[in-house]
């Protein structure tokens, strides 16, 4: 029975299985440069990492995940090939959750390619979910539920809203940080702007200017305060953004209405097959917005995934997401049906991570990892 397999045995079983599926086994480094984690997840990931300084003064850490070291290994070698199917098994180290072991163990796969033009046929997504199911079946795990989400559907939805682009970008960027995302919604409900962002109020408060002033006169005033410019921010950048902020004022009444629509959209939680109907009904109810693109995208997504996966039940949630910010497409998790807090496997698409790691071309990256400690 799989319940009796040790971590080492699980590592071996998954490795053999992935090799048979045509993946190349790699052993990413245990100790990696910390910078890339700060670059992709920000300083707050520091609390989850075990970091040390090398003799050269570089901050290094025990890898907190296996996806980034795997991508780095791929990019190091990719002058020889532009596509790879890689698999791995091994420990990762996270200190954030005191209830869990600091050394966790994962086995996973990543399908990476550069110079890839992504088509909207979701074939890779279908293949990866099918492989995830097969991977768990291979160790006799059959009693599980699949949850699915797609950040790109949420982004398409946001783009349809009558909200300043700055705020759309902010909501997209913080979708993964639930608490902060919620605080952004609350701020929109209160209205955006008013006294604190209206240009004349800012100029009066901080520079004591009480009359209309041209941008060129304002530039001169600022130059007199600081002849040198700070960092990469020019005085033009500052004035331009001040003007944009001043134009982006939203009343509280409108803010409440926009947030109501966002919350209503993020409440959609259904069997994948029902998604197009639910989105269409949602669009009918909220007919002052134009959600045609969202309907089309959700319908295409649902149809292609359902067709590829077959009879397996999949639950779709519009607000489903992981806590790591580099996912930028489909995201999925498979949880134990008897214990839903037990996440057996997580995965998703993360094309832009390869670009963040230095690749200039358009890339495709998708994968999953099994949490061996939860098996």
């Amino acid at each position: 029975m799989s319940r009796n397999l040790s971590i080492q045995e699980l590592n071996n079983r998954f490795k053999e299985f992935f090799l048979l599926e045509g993946f190349n086994y790699i052993e990413p480094p245990l100790v990696v440069n910390s910078d890339i984690y700060f670059e992709t997840s920000g300083e707050q990931i520091r609390k989850d990492m075990f970091s040390v300084s090398s003799a050269q003064g570089t901050e290094m850490c025990l890898r907190p995940d296996l996806t980034i070291p795997t991508c780095q290994t791929f990019l190091k070698d990719n002058q020889h090939f532009d596509q790879a199917k890689l698999c791995y098994s091994g420990p990762i180290f996270r200190s954030g959750d005191v209830n869990n072991s600091i050394e966790l163990n994962q086995s996973g796969i990543e399908i990476l390619s550069t110079n890839m033009i992504k088509e909207d046929n979701y074939q890779e997504e279908v293949d990866i979910i099918n492989l995830a199911i097969k991977t768990l079946n291979n160790i006799n795990k059959v009693n599980f539920d699949i949850n699915l989400g797609d950040i790109s559907i949420f982004i398409e939805f946001l783009d349809c809203l009558d909200l300043p682009q700055r705020w759309k970008d902010r909501l997209k960027r913080h979708f993964f940080r639930r608490d902060y995302f919620e605080s952004l919604l609350k701020r929109i409900e209160l209205g955006i702007g008013f006294n604190e962002t209206r240009k004349e109020d800012v100029l009066k408060k901080h520079l004591g200017i009480k009359v209309d002033i041209s941008d060129s006169d304002l530039k001169e005033r600022l130059m007199n305060i600081n002849a040198i410019e700070f960092g990469e921010r020019s005085i033009e950048d500052i004035i331009n953004r001040l003007n944009v902020k001043s134009e982006n004022i939203i009343s509280s009444e409108k803010g409440v209405e926009i947030v109501r629509v966002i919350r209503s959209f993020l409440n959609i939680n259904c069997e994948l097959e029902q998604l197009p109907n639910l989105i269409s009904n949602f669009a009918k109810e909220e007919d002052e917005h134009q959600f045609d693109n969202v309907i089309q995208m959700a319908s295409n997504f649902s149809k292609k995934i359902k067709l590829g996966i077959g009879n397996t039940d999949i639950n779709f949630k519009t607000d489903f997401g992981h806590s790591i910010e580099y996912y930028d497409g489909i995201m999925f998790e498979i949880e134990d049906r008897d214990n839903q807090s037990n996440k057996l496997l997580v995965g998703g698409r993360y094309d832009s991570l390869l670009n963040n790691l230095g690749l200039d071309n358009r890339a495709s990256a998708i994968g999953f990892a099994v949490n061996n400690n939860n098996i």
Binding site: H174, R177, E196, T197, V202, H206, F230, R233, I239
Partner: protein, 233 residues
Amino acid sequence: MNNKSILKIAFPSKGRLRKDLEKLLSYKKINFIEEGNNRNYIAKLSNNDDILIYFMGAKEIVTQLDEGNIHLGVTGDDLIQEYMFDYKTKVSNELILDFGKADLVVAVPKIWLDVTTMADLDEISHIKRMSTTKRLKVATKYTNLTNRFFSKCGVTDYRTVGSSGSTESAPFNGMSDIIVDISSTGETLKANNLRILDDGLILNSSANIFKSLTANWNTNLEKISEQFLNSVS
């Protein structure tokens, strides 16, 4: 007197904190009686023979409270929260003193008129990262408190730059874009053309008497501690 019956208290050895503390004790008619050849590092109090005073740096007091080598210590909230991991389980705040008051704040160059809140900082740091691949640099001596606060405010596209000297000059010499620093009156920041963000208050700090929860305590020491706290409150 048995060493187990001596209450060990750490006082700041120098600077403004020490002066203010001496003023308080003097007002309460408590004097130091220096102990022999200890170069002013150890003293007793005139009103209680069961107390031994150790003079040390405010940061060192945090370490000694953490390790339980002293029973009580006078130091700032800012240092406790910055340097003591999981401080709530290791110390309790027994008495807030009326000095050593300062705010830990986020300050940006005055000419950044478009940046008035942490949300603005989030946006401009993201713009910087996208356009230059570099992160906003934050000079501070308080990296832990900064990371916690920035994380709570959703700001992630930044890097802290350690600062050991006058942090307020860091944006001028190109060391950083903005700073997080202690400010008592705000005058130093103003003089350096820096402005505190509207929601940039990280911590209201003051000097406090902290009790080490990891030190060895007995009924007698608890009683001496209570007497001491009553005498200075």
